[in-house]
Symmetry: D2
Subunit: 407 residues, 4 copies
């Protein structure tokens, strides 16, 4: 044999190709690009029970959505998300639209019998999130899966941290310390995009960054936050208006100023169900910090530390070792028996940010094929939303302690 068409699988020597899973994605800005990379790559790297097909992408601007489809490899483009949901070749709806659209789209997609992946935060309000959870529960009974996109759970070092905690390597937890620090709003001349407007974004650093660290705290500990006390601040209260706001924060300044209606920073402390103390800080005003999602967790038997700016590393201190030879060790989380790593490169060859979306796609496809509950499901997203709402209520009450409803 000299030549063969590799896409033909008719030969008796080939395993049959797995069934297709048609993906329909709504939104094509930053998250759309990242999700596309995940969907395109996942079956090249992992052995999967279903084969994702990039069926269609939806966006309001016809030219832009077609350009995005070509760029990212989607077979078709839609300008109405309802049309995308209605397509027979779409089995899973991936929601990368702004937060104020999440609930409506997700409920409609689930009602139409689609699986759903929804970007975080799940919604802009607890009420919306509750409606989404109810829809997800109904759909679940018919075998549909609804996952929320807390992609940082899929950093191998974070997943490995969860594994170590679940194995009891930290013992009873005492302290959790989370920050998510960025600096793209330090400049008072940064424009007033939709992310700075409450009606579109719901909140500021809190929903954008704080949602991630609240989810990670609950995921890593295996516990829920029971109450919080918060301070929030908007340091720059007016910013340049854009003539026409565009998705990625780009646009032409109009010459005027408009009010910033979300928080620049939120600082909150809380308690986990076990009594452990947890602290959180989300800000876009920490000069020099670009993507510093950091945590440290201290338990009776050990500690863990992580920094997203060095995402291939996990620091682990084993408190059961003799003091003379103990210390925080830097685990390079690139070994074949680390989470997700079997499929990738040899030890020491780093992964990047976008791999989290590939891993998320894998986990979701596995859950769909097996019919198991996805992690994190919409109820996890709802619980995060309840924490964020409690944080906002506490901040309005100048740090008054607000219990988090336990659903």
């Amino acid at each position: 044999m000299d030549r063969t068409d590799a896409t033909e699988d008719s030969g008796s020597d080939s395993p049959p190709a797995p069934p297709a899973l048609g993906i329909g994605m709504i939104g094509y800005a930053f998250m759309g690009a990242a999700h596309s990379q995940g969907w395109r790559t996942v079956s090249r790297v992992f052995d999967l029970p279903l084969r994702p097909v990039l069926a269609a992408i939806a966006g309001r601007d016809p030219l832009a959505v077609r350009a995005a489809a070509r760029r990212h490899g989607w077979a078709a483009a839609e300008t109405d998300w309802r049309a995308l949901i209605a397509r027979d070749d779409v089995h899973l709806v991936d929601i990368c639209a702004p937060g104020d659209l999440h609930a409506e789209i997700a409920v409609a997609a689930l009602a139409a019998g689609k699986h759903v992946l929804c970007e975080k935060p799940l919604a802009n309000t607890v009420a919306e999130a509750e409606a989404m959870c109810a829809a997800a529960a109904r759909a679940r009974r018919e075998g549909r899966i609804a996952m929320v996109g807390f992609n940082y759970r899929r950093v191998p070092a974070v997943a490995h941290a969860r594994r170590l905690i679940a194995e009891g390597r930290l013992g009873a937890l005492r302290h959790l310390r989370f920050t998510y620090l960025q600096d793209w709003l330090v400049d008072p001349g940064a424009p007033l995009t939709w992310r700075l407007q409450r009606e579109h974004a719901g909140s500021g650093a809190l929903g954008d960054l704080g949602a991630h660290i609240v989810d990670l705290a609950q995921y890593l500990s295996g516990e829920r936050l029971t109450g919080v006390s918060a301070l929030a601040e908007t340091f720059v209260t007016e910013r340049p208006l854009l003539a026409a706001a565009t998705g990625g924060g780009r646009g032409i300044p109009s010459g005027g100023l408009g009010p910033v209606t979300v928080d620049d920073a939120a600082l909150f402390n809380g308690r986990l169900a076990s009594g452990a103390l947890a602290s959180f800080e989300a800000t876009r005003m920490a000069s020099g910090r670009k993507n510093a999602l950091r945590f440290e967790i201290n338990g009776e038997r050990g500690s863990l530390a992580f920094d997203l700016e060095r995402l291939n590393e996990l620091s682990f201190h084993d408190h059961t070792e003799p003091a003379a030879s103990s210390g925080f060790r830097r685990i390079l989380v690139t070994e074949a028996d680390h989470p997700y790593l079997q499929a990738w490169w040899p030890p020491g060859h780093a992964l990047g940010y976008e791999h989290t979306f590939t891993h998320q796609a894998r986990d979701l496809i596995e859950a769909i094929a097996r019919g198991t509950a996805p992690e994190p499901g919409f109820e996890d997203g709802l619980q995060v939303q309840r924490v964020l709402a409690a944080v906002e209520e506490s901040a309005r009450g100048n740090a008054v302690y607000i219990p988090v409803p336990q659903g």
Copy 2:
């Protein structure tokens, strides 16, 4: 000339020796050893207007205090601190006794016309601290100096950080983030020493560790905290009793358990006068962290970060540089033009913990010789005490926001 007595300064070629300043120290445990090292070393390294003489040390146990005097180089030993204060050869009283004795000793020493250096925290209560401040103000009018021993201001990297902030290199401050993490109480079998008893220690991690970071936040920012919201926790509520408590936490377990009456950890957020947000955590339960006094300060024009476990280093980010070449730089604070460094070793030759006491001694001697106000004075200690009291009140009220009285 072949031989000369180096201690004779009668020759016309020698500058006259500076006048003596007799030091009397009360207490001889950990802090006593560290202060002794500072007093012994300071005139060997710095050119000083006064020559400190280790005149006398006081402690209750006659054998122990004499042994301490011999070990640390004190000329005499006293078993009654009042006798020490009464000595003519003592011009400065250095208080290293437990916190519940600070007020009585300091007020008596100042009344007796002595200068005073008092270990931190200034006192166990705001009322005590106010009485001490009043005494210090009276004594100040007669040329006596009263300083509180927040020695970490004297880490060269910390002093350099203050200099950079004072020069405006950070611009308007947005965030201050302080932790002081230790782990010597992680083991539930650690004994119930005086440091775990409210009547002696006043508070737990809060007064022991939190006092340092509250002082540093106010020192570095040049601002005061205006209010706080706090959570506190005692994770291990009973610990082994000692048959006879001894100074250093050593002793023989008695077989029984007694109640821990102070906090293991305190977590609090607050606001500075300028509106900057500040977070604080003090704990002795952070497994693997030995002496992790860490801070990061973010301003409009730059940021600083520090970790006491790497005390010769300061991280500085200059936000006014082009993004492509900016980043946190690790300044090795061992250059001749860094604070205190002119007197020490060549660049790159590290200093240690105890040097802070040598530097403190220098600054105090300079203040006495010049008659200038010491930094930090008792009023700074009082202001820290007010913050600690507000933290305790807030923690009792489950994080209710407590304004800090501004004195």
Copy 3:
């Protein structure tokens, strides 16, 4: 408009799709997977003048090559590399086969009018490399491009380092210090794969790892090595034979032992044309180091440091700053104006190892479209080969200094 086929570009509102560039790849082990990821991704991220099409892949084992084609997205599979070269839909031949095949394939591909990308090291001998260079020079006159795959030049931090040096930010260079440390041969039970056999691999750590750091030293400095002195060592001289050697080092032990005929480690010092001193270490026996390609370069005006295990970071010291505020700064090389980063994610969102192949694909496609000389061209690969040969000769002569022929 509600629905559109995104792959149709006939509408008047769309720019025409760029012309196709058919890629044919030979080899499908580790490098094949990495290159495939690069070819698949490059046009999704960068705006390119040519559109790479994964036309065909070649490998000897029919089942394996077809599986690889399906896995990695190649349209066709060949079992004879000559057949791949002969295909009309292949315009560029990407050589990922073992080093002993490079010369024959590359010469044939260039003679057939194809562009060539050849994995490093260029060849197993200088003579082979010279023949390849001659073929590349002939092909160049007919507009064909030949590039050697030193992919680490395409780490953004490395490319940024080159930019800083080229701008003169380091001044005259004094020292270059390169190590490439791995540890997968520490275990004496690791099997005897083709990489440990001189007839296939040419050399051991020297060619595998040393080739990268020699290339980087010459690339970053913009200078050539003029001579070297080397020590080499094989610490484990016999290893378990495999019943049947397979590409990736996997296979079934046969029960016997066979001789290791390449170096485990090579250590060499040399001089650059300018007189700067350079040191190199390549080893696969450095326990705990997984992929530690590290360098530090010291010049009269500044220094740079890098570690491939933290590939998103570059350390830079500017010696022209005042000593009190200078230090190595950690530049997070994820800003839009860093090399290659305009196309990727927001600041602080890390890239990984495989991105180097995407960047390599971009640079090669740009060179083909523009008809410009590729960097690094085969002559760069030949010069590295000359250094490796001099290193081997020096090691055989127990560190005797060997001048490197300057081509």
Copy 4:
């Protein structure tokens, strides 16, 4: 009892004071200050069998030596080192003079029945070092101790590293990698002090910095170097002359230039007796590196890494752990069961550079009291000297491999 003279030990409750050991020190520049601090402090921190007394200091300039005596606490000053040796109250001669005086002073002091501590490098030539060893051997038979001052063996982290290697935690050693990088000669305007003149300093970076790392390599491995291959370079061949050279490199430029007759940098590779490979770099031209004595040692079972700029830390990788949880751990070498630490502060409280001299003083006093061989003895210093001589011979022969005589 109210008052007691602490220096009186006549009471029946006090242990008798240990006998005095009179110290006489020659030289009072940088090393003199550091040694003085060690002698003054050692009995305040450690329980010692002999009590060091700072009896006399010698230097040529009468005014300067008397000032140094007063500053550093020496009871008497001498302007002739022979007079110092002749003093009855001097039992130990501490040689901090330049290297060209070491041999004459040490031989005379040993002949006069004194113990000797000699700063490194032991001498400027192998012949001098051999004479010193012979004198030390004779004196040893009469109970006199001769130690060479490789003070970095006394960094607790380094001593702990030696302990781990001696316990077999690294297994068979494969690689040793040592650098000692400083940058105080980067500026071509730095003056021509005695340290840059062969007749006084013997060599440049090689003897000053290289001697330390050669000693540490042999100390840590417990093996000797058997041969070396070296390159050396003087990048700046002429520097400003000083009108009158002074000890510390200070002085007034004369306006002229003079030749630098020592190396700026030396780069050498070698083999240990076991076959392990070792690399060394000593330079004073590494911009941004202030005191970067760094090593990494890789063995079959683990690795160690250290940086003198972070001298309280030791990195340790245990290769026998499961790959998924292994990594270099940062041991904070401040625990009570680390070398020398029992006597110092609580965990996490850093030591500094000067502590190495206090530890050296302790170890020497213990050796004298016990009559045991000191480590490192003069024979260790001689062996280092032989390596340095082989390095210089190799560098003159353009990297020709020179076996090191094994004494």
